[in-house]
C-alpha cells in the first residue's frame, strides 16, 4: 500500500497557511478580545 504522507504534508501546510492568514487578518487580537472576558455562556448565564 502506498504511504500517503503527501496528504499529511498538504494538511499541515494548509493549517500553517490558515494560521498565518488568520494572524495577518488580526484574528489573534479578536480571539484575545473575547477570551479576556468571562464567558457567561460557559458558566451557564444567558
Amino acid at each position: 500500500m502506498q504511504d500517503q504522507r503527501w496528504i499529511s504534508y498538504l494538511l499541515a501546510t494548509a493549517g500553517i497557511i490558515l494560521i498565518l492568514v488568520g494572524l495577518a487578518r488580526g484574528e489573534a487580537a479578536d480571539v484575545m478580545q473575547k477570551a479576556v472576558l468571562i464567558c457567561l455562556e460557559c458558566i451557564g448565564i444567558r
Binding site: I19, V31, M32, C39, I43
Partner: protein, 290 residues
C-alpha cells in the same frame, strides 16, 4: 487479559500540559481570569478560557464566538491551529495534552477500560462538531443580529467545571444570575462525571467536537501508528492493552483511538511503532509453521 500498567511518561506530559495551560495560579485563589497577552494564543485542546487559571484560548469557544459575531466569518487562525495539530498527530492531542482527557482518566475505575459504549453514542460527537461549525452563524437573534456559542452554552462540561463552578459560583456579582441554564449545565457535568468513573473517556468518545475533528485526521496524520504484519504474532496483546479494546492489528489508526500508545508498549514483537516514516514490511509470519 493480562494486567498492563499505564505509561508514566504520558501521565507526566498530560500533567505538564494541564499545568502549563492553566498556569495563572493566582486566578484560582481570586476567581479572576487571566487577561494578559498570552490569551491570544489558541491552544489545540479543550480548555475553557474562562477557567481562572487558563493562559490561552479554547479553540471551540473562540471559533464559535467569532462565528457568532455579525459580519464575521470562520476563524482561519483557530481552524489553522487545530488543522495543523490534527495533520501532525491526529488524536495525539486528546491522549497526551487535553486536561479534560486527563481528568477523565484520573476518575476512571480500572474496570472502566472494559466497558464499551453503544456505537450510536459515538456518532453524537460528529453532530456536536457540526453544531460548533455552523450553529453560531445559523441561529442568529433577530433582535441583536448575534449568534451564540451554543455548544459552550448548552453542553460543554469543561466550561461548567472550569468557568461555572470556579468562577460563576464564586463571583458575588454573577451568583444571582445563575438559573435554570446553570442547573442544566451542572446536570450535564454530573452525568459525565459519573460516566467517567465507569467507562473510559466518555466525553471524548461521545460529545467532544475536537475529538470528532481530530478523529478524521487519525488515518492521514503525519505521525501515525504503523503495523508491521511481518513481525505481528497475532497475540492480541495490543488489543488487551488498548483502553478502548480496539483491534489495533486490523485498524491501527482507528478514529476512536486517542493515541495513548499503550498498544505499542504492550506489543512483545515490536510490530507497532508511532512514527512519521513508513515502516518496511517484513514477510508475514506463517504461524502454522512456527
Amino acid at each position: 487479559m493480562h494486567r498492563h500498567s499505564l505509561n508514566p511518561k504520558r501521565r507526566l506530559v498530560q500533567l505538564a500540559a494541564a499545568l502549563t495551560a492553566n498556569a495563572h495560579l493566582p486566578g484560582f485563589a481570586t476567581g479572576q481570569i487571566y487577561q494578559g497577552p498570552v490569551k491570544q494564543v489558541c491552544v489545540p485542546f479543550l480548555n475553557c478560557y474562562s477557567c481562572p487559571g487558563a493562559l490561552g484560548a479554547c479553540p471551540v469557544g473562540s471559533y464559535q464566538v467569532m462565528l457568532a459575531m455579525p459580519g464575521q466569518a470562520v476563524s482561519l487562525y483557530v481552524t489553522g491551529v487545530v488543522t495543523t495539530a490534527g495533520a501532525l498527530g491526529g488524536r495525539l492531542v486528546c491522549g497526551w495534552l487535553c486536561p479534560f482527557g486527563l481528568l477523565q482518566e484520573a476518575l476512571a475505575r480500572p474496570s472502566a477500560r472494559r466497558v464499551s459504549l453503544p456505537r450510536a453514542l459515538l456518532w453524537i460527537k460528529y453532530l456536536m462538531l457540526a453544531a460548533v461549525l455552523i450553529l453560531p452563524a445559523l441561529l442568529v437573534s433577530s433582535a441583536t443580529g448575534l449568534g451564540a456559542p451554543y455548544y459552550c452554552t448548552y453542553v460543554c462540561p469543561a466550561g461548567t467545571l472550569e468557568a461555572g463552578l470556579l468562577v460563576g459560583l464564586r463571583d458575588a456579582a454573577l451568583r444571582p444570575l445563575l438559573g435554570p441554564l446553570f442547573l442544566w449545565k451542572v446536570l450535564v457535568l454530573a452525568v459525565f462525571l459519573v460516566a467517567m468513573r465507569y467507562t473510559y473517556r466518555p466525553f471524548c468518545r461521545t460529545a467532544c467536537p475536537l475529538g470528532a475533528f481530530y478523529s478524521l485526521f487519525n488515518p492521514v496524520s503525519l505521525w501515525r501508528i504503523r503495523h508491521d504484519a511481518g513481525r505481528c504474532q497475532r497475540c492480541h496483546s495490543c488489543r488487551d492493552a488498548c483502553p478502548l479494546q480496539l483491534a489495533v492489528e486490523r485498524s491501527p489508526n482507528h478514529p476512536e483511538c486517542v493515541r495513548c500508545l499503550e498498544c505499542i508498549r504492550a506489543c512483545p514483537a515490536g510490530a507497532l511503532t508511532f512514527t512519521a516514516r513508513p515502516v518496511p514490511q517484513q514477510e508475514p509470519v506463517d504461524l502454522k509453521r512456527t
